[in-house]
């Protein structure tokens, strides 16, 4: 079967050793440290969010444990004029794009203000209906093409999302119209309880790009350097008018689907334990230690600083008061229709 494979599949092995040539950005200690910090911050956020949910102070939460490198690597390759359209497990990418920790807590805590991002104002909020962000990304890309902004739309979905028609329809149109989109699939091997083998007969999800006539690439999603490198090439291709690309980043969901899920019902502990050996933070830290003399003190300082950021944001979230009752009608339309305002009053809310 023909494949449009391109780019480095993996740069670092599981022990953090360089397997192939390092891309430019990955030779810079500061740049690598920024990626490492973003992944640590994401993991600390996840840990805190789960703890808050378990103690009744946050809603149902989807952890991104083990998938931090995909999200961070994708976002770090993007530019300001690009638009991120994440699914609900892309906290790392959202944080990189300037969404604040407090906003993430607000969103998962059930407050719409969490989607009123401080960061990139044109980025989409996390998409819950699976795969529906893909056609929207094609629409964003169409607007970018018309406006000549040089921007690229970057939707991220999971392996399960590639079973939906939305995914194929969007890729097909993006191919036909040479739209500036990079479709990213964070293949974490599980769609709630359904493993990839039961999801599709496709050998690689990246092969699905062939149906749309666009290139598909497959990258080790636990290697943030490789993810970013492949993203950069796909983004450059889109920016220069070359059209859309599909990237499959292979990773593993180390946690439950959400805090409402118990993955022990459908997968065995041995499988999960085996995947812990390949998790992305350890790999980049090992590389930092080996190649850049990353010290124990630096590690402790970074961990502490991330923890403090998360704690401060969690406190700010918990201290945030409710929106006023009228907030349920105020943002539905640009100006509240008379009928709606009247009904709101009649129903005894005010």
């Amino acid at each position: 079967m023909a494949r449009f494979d391109f780019g480095p599949v993996r740069v670092l092995d599981q022990a953090g050793n360089v397997e192939t040539t390092l891309p430019g950005f990955a030779r810079d200690r500061e740049a690598l440290a920024r990626h490492y910090r973003a992944m640590v911050l994401t993991r600390q956020f996840d840990t805190k969010a789960v703890a808050l949910q378990r103690t009744g102070r946050l809603g149902t939460f989807a952890s991104s444990l083990g998938q931090e490198a995909v999200s961070v690597g994708v976002a770090s390759a993007m530019r300001d004029q690009d638009v991120f359209l994440p699914s609900f497990r892309e906290h790392g990418g959202q944080l990189w794009r300037g969404v604040t920790l407090k906003e993430l807590f607000l969103f998962w805590g059930g407050d719409e203000r969490g989607n009123d991002f401080s960061g990139h104002r044109m980025d989409f909020p996390a998409c819950i209906p699976v795969a529906t962000q893909f056609p929207q990304a094609a629409g964003v890309a169409l607007a970018m093409q018309a406006q000549g902004t040089g921007g690229v739309a970057v939707p991220v979905g999971g392996d399960g999302a590639t079973s939906k028609g939305d995914f194929y329809e969007a890729m097909n149109i993006a191919g036909a119209w040479a739209l500036p989109v990079v479709f990213v699939i964070s293949n974490n091997q599980w769609a709630i309880s359904v493993p990839l083998a039961a999801q599709t007969r496709a050998v690689a999800i990246s092969d699905k790009a062939m149906a749309a006539g666009i290139p598909g690439g497959r990258v080790d999603g636990n290697d943030v350097i490789a993810v970013r490198a492949m993203m950069e090439r796909a983004l450059e291709r889109a920016r220069s008018g070359g059209g859309a690309t599909l990237i499959e980043a292979v990773t593993y969901r180390l946690g439950d689907h959400t805090t409402a899920d118990d993955s022990k019902r459908y997968r065995n502990e041995a499988e999960v334990s085996a995947h812990w050996k390949a998790e992305p933070l350890v790999r980049l830290r090992a590389h930092l230690v080996q190649e850049h003399g990353w010290t124990k003190e630096e590690e402790e300082t970074l961990q502490r600083s991330c923890r403090e950021d998360v704690e401060t944001a969690a406190e700010a979230y918990l201290a945030t008061g409710l929106q006023p009752p009228r907030a349920i009608i105020d943002h539905l339309f640009e100006s509240v229709p008379e009928d709606l305002a009247q009904r709101f009053g009649e129903a005894g809310y005010e």
Partner: protein
């Protein structure tokens, strides 16, 4: 001035919007060179270019999703779904996204898009080409649903829909596409989006309808006039939001109301109108509210279609019934 058909008025409004606002783009199946299966976009691709009047692949989910994305990123997309029966795959994008984007981002992003679709029966079209499920759409918070019933209203309401900062579903009664003509001034004037129109004034009974059924309603109004019964005929125009005030005012005057729609009876918009009157105008009512609507059946294939479509005779019967109630 120009006597236009309804489909010509739609085209005139689309051309005006494309001319006036560079953010406006049209997208849909066969809308380019072919000018749309009903010719609503005839000549527009040649005039405004294939980038702005865009043929899409055959994918309704993607058409709606692209409209959502493009609208959120600064364009004013007007998407065409070829027939309402093919709109179901677009519901996910409409209900889960278009209708909610402003609300879920507290106004940071919005979705100024229009989804146009020909709807309704009466032209003996094939299976799946005659649906009217406007009530399903009107049930979705955050969507506006608009239905014109004449060429001039099609022009003014479509311009209003395109200029509106929020998503609008614009349903075009295809039975009227070529069956009525009216003078339409290409003056760029929009009609208000949330106002019903009183098409004829009368003190005896209120008749509420929309879209193609305005034809049957008008005929019934004329026939009742010969019996000395004067009808306040209200064309709803906007199915969401509903201009309740205009209906209530009319019923406060007449004390009697008949609602007419082509869509099936149960949970149709007639139920909402009747409930609203029961809540707000009970003491004004002199007779039970009557709904004229087909039973809860799938619209038949063309040979039995006439058995389904409400007739002026049924409306006359309902009006006589509420007039005779005492």
């Amino acid at each position: 001035m120009n006597e236009l058909t309804l489909v010509e008025a739609v085209r005139l409004a689309l051309a005006r919007a494309l001319e006036d606002d560079p953010r406006v783009i049209l997208l849909g199946e066969d809308i380019g060179v072919n000018g749309g299966v009903f010719r609503a976009t005839d000549g527009l691709a040649a005039r405004f270019g294939a980038d702005r009047v865009r043929d899409t692949p055959l994918a309704e989910t993607a058409i709606a999703g692209i409209a959502v994305g493009a609208a959120a990123h600064g364009l004013r997309p007007v998407a065409e779904i070829q027939f309402m029966g093919f709109l179901y795959p677009a519901l996910d994008q409409l209900a889960n996204h278009a209708a909610r984007l402003r609300n879920r981002t507290r106004g940071r992003l919005s979705c100024p898009m229009v989804l146009r679709a020909p709807f309704g029966g009466g032209i003996h079209a094939p299976e799946h080409h005659s649906e009217s499920f406007e009530a399903m759409l009107a049930h979705v918070p955050g969507l506006r649903v608009v239905v014109p019933s004449s060429p001039a209203r099609a022009y003014g309401l479509l311009l209003a829909a395109i200029r509106d900062p929020d998503p609008v579903v614009f349903l075009e009664p295809k039975r009227l596409y070529r069956s009525v003509r009216e003078e339409v001034a290409d003056d760029g004037a929009a009609l208000p989006l949330d106002r019903a129109l009183i098409l004829s004034a009368g003190d005896d009974v209120t008749l509420v309808t929309w879209g193609a059924m305005v034809q049957e309603a008008r005929e019934a109004v004329e026939r009742m006039a010969t019996e000395g019964v004067l009808v306040d005929l209200i064309d709803l125009c906007s199915l969401k939001p509903i201009d309740r005030a205009t209906i209530r005012r009319s019923v406060a005057k007449t004390g009697r109301c008949v609602v007419l729609h082509e869509a099936p009876l149960t949970a149709g918009l007639g139920a909402e109108i009747a409930a609203d009157l029961a809540e707000h105008c009970l003491t004004d009512l002199l007779a039970p509210i009557r709904r004229v609507a087909p039973p809860d059946v799938v619209i038949p294939y063309p040979r039995l279609e006439d058995q389904y479509m409400p007739t002026a005779g049924q409306v006359v019967g309902a009006i006589r019934e509420v007039m005779e109630f005492s």
